[in-house]
């Protein structure tokens, strides 16, 4: 990560206006989005959108041709090009032919993508953005920091300063007054402009129509008052049929701003009459700019299902801390990272892609059903293929993957850490490692790792067997969690085996783009865990569970390596996370919780991978309640704690404020106990409370439940 980028992160994190505005918005967004979708089956709706957009992405050329044919039949002039330069030249030519001196624009991300405004201005044409937020950032000389709310990073005072300068009059920061000033200023430009430029939210091939969605009403004026109208449309906006606009218009306003519908929707098909009785000179530019190439890439075709609602930004724990000027270029946030890699270039996404913590919030709310985190990993993978793995990373993985070496190093560390470890925590580390313990204490490395401790838990010989997969944290830092799980399973009549050859699950390598390393991890683990034909493979770390269940397969697919695919599927089928397996055993009557216990209040923290990849959230809560704990839900219980594996080591400055939010939400419940199913979250949250000197117990659900079975 380059120094300049690092500095921009730090600047954003220290901008209280920015983090305040984004933080408050993301909190209210969650509720308003849910309210807007009341009575609507979101899964059905987004499946429909994904289908129709995916169909369009597979037929970009056919639909472009059809759109052009139908729009031209209505009298529009359609220009198709792959090149951003040609788009600009075309618009300039149209402007010159019509003696255009001033242009009004309604919001168009496609025009931002090709940096149209400076080009036209260089050629002596005045361009005014008419969307209020776009006008604000135009006056400020900035790029949008959010795809729907371009000026969300600015305060009313800053806006007032900009407007005051523009109209040469000292203005107050009263928002309704500022809006009136904008109305007046922009209205005069609307009336004198010779050309209007717009984007489009949807382009319908069947009819040659474009659909424009706004709240302010500026698109209506841009498409009505000037005699020339140029619409710049990225070809991913195409849909086949007119009826396809319904699901998109249903989802877009709800996902974007929590509205049932925007104030204005305009559907324009061919030229319309001007105010002087002439007909509109309508030009429609269908811009490719690598979209076709993207559609032909099976890993990225999905990105064309985006309807530009920006909900991936609104739910992102990182975006709400740093904003779009750090997290993005022209396009911002998760999807912005992907679009930047394509419409700009892969290299430009190098820094911003590293901001993704892989929590999966965006994937859960995306109305185009796009797997944004997966595509960001693919960018990471390609960057590693292009540039090679950094040397330090290579060295780290070679240690991590050599279990024997890793053990002995950690064991040595657990001895040398003596001066720093107190009460099970490492609170300070010397020199260059000090960042790691600045905002949370780290767990001390256990004297005896789980793999040795396991040998001391005598196993009964039983017919039903489970292989336990420990993962690094349970093996080396929290062996007591592993021991609790073994004892619970024994109570249910299941014999536990611990295949000693099991190694790192490969998540660290995969999340750093080192897929070849991850694939080797997968093969080693498949060999170890399928050797004994056990009934289950159990893991109490959701990240590891996801690796065993989904990512081994996925990594092989990405690399086109099918040698171990069958075994990977076999392992996947047998793998279960702790809570799901225990809930099943309780439901089957093989485990019984003690009755009438009053164990006090607790709150539950959902780990990202358990909640959003494995879709498990009810099971641990139900088990805890059944045992006699009383659940008090915290605010944003399923928001990431900031751990993200090696993320907290690479970007501690971002991990820390995310953790602080989590700690505050927990403290607001005033409960003494936090349960979670992830040892990584335990490490992060427990370490945070230790630094905080708060007396809150943070434990893996397994440990809290261990004593509660009959």
């Amino acid at each position: 990560m380059n120094k300049e980028f690092r500095e921009s992160i730090s600047k954003a994190l220290h901008n209280a206006n920015l983090t305040g505005a984004l933080g408050r918005f993301s909190e209210t967004y969650r509720t308003s989005r849910l309210k807007a979708y009341e009575g609507i089956d979101f899964e059905v709706l987004r499946t429909r959108i994904a289908e129709l957009k995916s169909y369009a992405a597979s037929h970009l050329n056919v639909l472009s041709e059809l759109f052009a044919k139908n729009a031209e039949a209505k009298g529009a002039k359609v220009f198709r090009t792959n090149s951003p330069e040609k788009v600009k030249e075309y618009i300039l030519q149209v402007a010159r032919e019509n003696d255009v001196k001033s242009i009004v624009k309604s919001k168009s991300m496609a025009s931002e993508e090709i940096h149209l405004n400076p080009y036209l201005e260089q050629h002596g044409i005045s361009v005014m953005e008419t969307d209020l937020g776009e006008w604000i950032i135009q006056l400020a000389g900035q790029t949008p920091s959010h795809m729907v709310m371009p000026a969300i990073h600015m305060t009313k005072e800053e806006v007032s300063d900009l407007f005051s300068k523009e109209i040469n009059e000292r203005l107050s920061s009263d928002i309704p007054k500022l809006v009136k000033v904008a109305r007046k200023e922009i209205r005069s430009k609307f009336l004198e402009a010779d050309m209007g430029i717009s984007g489009a939210n949807i382009a319908v091939a069947e009819t040659g129509s474009m659909v424009l969605v706004t709240n302010e009403g500026n698109a209506r004026l841009v498409t009505t008052l000037p005699k020339v109208h140029v619409a710049i449309i990225g070809i991913e906006k195409l849909v086949a049929n007119f009826e396809d606009i319904v699901p998109i218009l249903t989802a877009l306003p709800k996902s974007a701003t929590g509205q049932l519908l925007t104030s204005y929707v305009s559907i324009i098909t061919g030229p319309t009459p001007n105010t002087d009785g002439s007909m509109k000179d309508l030009h429609i530019i269908l811009m490719d700019n690598r979209r076709t190439e993207m559609a032909n890439d099976p890993k990225f075709k999905q990105a064309l299902q985006c309807i530009r609602c920006a909900s991936c930004l609104n739910v992102c724990p990182i975006y709400r801390l740093v904003g779009g000027h750090v997290f993005g270029k022209v396009y911002t946030g998760g999807i912005g990272t992907i679009l930047t890699a394509w419409f700009d270039e892969l290299k430009k996404s190098e820094d911003i892609q590293g901001l993704c913590i892989q929590c999966g919030n965006c994937k859960e709310v995306c109305p185009g059903k796009i797997d944004i985190p997966e595509m960001i990993l693919e960018i990471r993978r390609r960057l590693v293929v292009d540039k090679g793995q950094p040397l330090v990373q290579k060295a780290i993985f070679s240690v991590v993957n050599n279990r024997r070496l890793f053990h002995s190093m950690l064991r040595t560390a657990s001895l040398t850490q003596m001066p720093f470890a107190k009460g099970g925590f490492i609170r300070h580390l010397p020199m260059f490692l000090s960042d790691l313990t600045e905002f949370r204490s780290l767990p001390a490395i256990a004297d005896v790792p789980f793999r040795d401790k396991f040998k001391e838990i005598k196993q009964p010989m039983l017919k039903e067997k489970a292989a336990f997969y420990a993962g690094c944290l349970i093996d080396f830092a929290y062996p007591e969690t592993g021991a609790a799980i073994v004892r619970i399973l024994n109570k249910a009549g299941i014999e536990v085996v611990f295949p000693d050859e099991q190694t790192c699950c490969g998540a660290p390598a995969r999340y750093n783009g080192a897929y070849e390393v991850a694939a080797q991890n997968a093969i080693d683990n498949i060999k170890a865990l399928t050797k004994d034909k056990t009934n289950y493979v159990v893991s109490a770390c959701p990240t590891c569970t996801v690796a065993l269940k989904h990512e081994f397969i996925n990594t092989f697919e990405s690399l086109g390596n099918n040698d171990w695919m069958d075994q990977a599927h076999e392992l996947s089928a047998r793998t279960m996370d702790f809570s799901t397996l225990i809930k099943k055993l309780v439901d089957e009557g093989r485990l019984t919780l003690k009755e009438r216990q009053q164990l006090g209040k607790f709150t539950y923290h959902d780990s990202c991978h358990l909640k959003r990849t494995l879709n498990v959230h009810a099971a641990p809560r139900e088990l805890m309640k059944k045992a006699g704990f009383e659940l008090v839900e915290m605010f944003e219980s399923d928001m990431c704690c900031g751990m993200g594996g090696s993320y907290s080591i690479k970007l501690p400055e971002i991990s820390a404020p995310i953790l602080q939010r989590k700690l505050k939400n927990i403290k607001d419940t005033s409960v003494p106990v936090v349960a979670t199913d992830c040892p990584g979250c335990v490490m992060q949250i427990r370490g945070g409370f230790d630094k905080d000197k708060a007396v809150v117990t943070v434990k893996h659900t397994a440990e809290l439940l261990e004593e509660q079975f009959k």
């Binding site: 918005f25 209020l132 709310m149 000026a151 928002i175 809006v179 302010e216 004026l221």
Partner: protein, 182 residues
């Protein structure tokens, strides 16, 4: 459907009224024009775009009553108007939306440049939802289809909802039972 429409439209700051006869609706509109001090001077005009409602009443009666009420809708008169009046074709209940074939430019001018937009609509033009609307309109026949849901709004400064940016600050919807859409 009317109740649902009213609920949804009012939730987005539109004002919703309903009258059984055209006369009652007309009296209401004249009342609004007077209250809003429409007069024969720039920025105080009311512009009324041609529509079935207007065709069915005696226009001459109106002209004397409200000075500044103009039926000749142009770029100039509309941009100097305080109130714009038009008749919308359809009303969508589940989002509180009005819809119209806005191909004639006057229809767009009176609903986008004035501070207040008075939108007449036949009560039997109520439809359940957007899919129903799509069965009634056809982009091949209507070059400019407009949907309007509440007044113009923005939240671009500090996420504070502010009504009336580029379009009307007030949207007054007048349902008339006696009018027939079907």
């Amino acid at each position: 459907m009317f109740d649902k429409f009213k609920l949804r439209a009012e939730a987005v700051s539109a004002e919703v009224h309903r009258f059984s006869t055209k006369d009652e609706a007309l009296m209401f509109i004249i009342d609004v024009l007077k209250k809003e001090r429409v007069s024969d001077s720039p920025r105080a005009y009311a512009v009324w775009a041609d529509c079935p409602f207007l065709k069915s009443i005696d226009r001459a009666l109106l002209v004397g009553k409200v000075p500044g009420l103009i039926f000749d809708v142009t770029r100039e008169t509309a941009s100097e108007s305080h109130i714009g009046i038009s008749q919308m074709d359809w009303a969508i209940a589940n989002t509180g939306t009005l819809a119209q074939d806005s191909t004639p430019v006057e229809q767009r001018l009176v609903s986008s440049l004035s501070f207040i937009h008075i939108a007449l609509v036949a009560t039997d033009g109520l439809l359940a939802d957007m899919p129903s609307l799509l069965t009634k309109i056809n982009p091949k026949e209507s070059a400019y289809i407009a949907m309007i849901t509440g007044p113009s709004r923005t939240a671009d400064i500090e996420r504070v909802l502010t009504i009336g940016v580029h379009g009307p600050q007030r949207l007054i919807i007048v349902f008339v039972d006696e009018l027939r859409q079907h």
